[in-house]
């Protein structure tokens, strides 16, 4: 599974992009976040405030209960500030 981090999330987790293999049982965006938080204090801090995190699966906005699979591109980022 390809995971992307943008803006200040990238700084906190320490990378902009990584390939990971989540443990069996990680089936949704929410479960993925819960597992990522256990990987290091940086990850825990990045995802500490769920209200500040937006997720996308395969470049479409996704909610916490959306399914994720090994072949997906999953991205996490703060609320957007373009324009």
């Amino acid at each position: 599974m390809r995971i992307l981090y943008f803006a200040w999330l990238r700084g906190k987790v320490g990378t902009g992009e990584e390939e990971i293999t989540p443990p069996v049982g990680i089936a949704t965006v929410g479960q993925l976040i819960d597992w990522l938080k256990t990987r290091s204090p940086g990850y825990a801090e990045a995802f500490a405030q769920p209200g500040l995190i937006r997720a996308a699966v395969n470049q479409e906005y996704a909610k916490l209960d959306q399914a994720v699979a090994a072949s997906d591109e999953v991205a996490f980022f703060p609320p957007v500030t373009g324009g």
């Binding site: 803006a7 996308a56 991205a75 980022f77 957007v80 500030t81 373009g82 324009g83």
Partner: protein
């Protein structure tokens, strides 16, 4: 209908002219240009980060939504990324329609939705260092208006 995400500057006049060139069905062209504000030389430059791929996809979806809501003849969104200085253009939204009501509504809708949906993030350089710009509730409110009775 087209979308461009680019590092280079753009020419609003050339883009607007292109939308009407050789056609006589366009009665109204509205446009919005967004620029970086800040006193010149005060160090208030910024860097726009984006999510290549998703950005174009979201901008196209926003455009398709506008085309579904209003009778548009053409529309264009250009959004820059990279480092920008005060006075630099950031974004252009332009809409062509037979009538002005649709052209105004669609143009404002596009920039409102873009501000809350297109994956761009601003990293501002200030006297105290760099900081990521926080999203504004006001922008959410403006985008939400379009979900109420049209």
């Amino acid at each position: 209908m087209s979308v461009r995400v680019q590092r280079e500057d753009f020419d609003p006049g050339a883009e607007i002219a292109r939308m009407t060139e050789g056609r006589t069905d366009v009665g109204a062209v509205t446009s919005f240009v967004g620029l970086v504000r800040g006193a010149a030389g005060d160090g208030s430059a910024m860097t726009l980060e984006h999510y290549p791929g998703m950005t174009e996809r979201q901008l196209s979806a926003i455009e398709a939504e506008a085309c579904g809501r209003w009778p548009l003849l053409d529309s264009l969104i250009i959004h820059r990324f990279g480092r920008l200085n005060p006075g630099d253009r950031i974004v252009l939204v332009a809409v062509a329609s037979s009538h002005r009501a649709a052209a105004f509504a669609a143009c404002e809708f596009l920039i409102d939705w873009l501000k809350t949906r297109a994956p761009f993030w601003k990293l501002e350089e200030g006297p105290g260092g760099e900081h990521w710009v926080e999203a504004k509730d006001d922008d959410d409110d403006r985008a939400d208006r379009w979900n109420k009775s049209s």
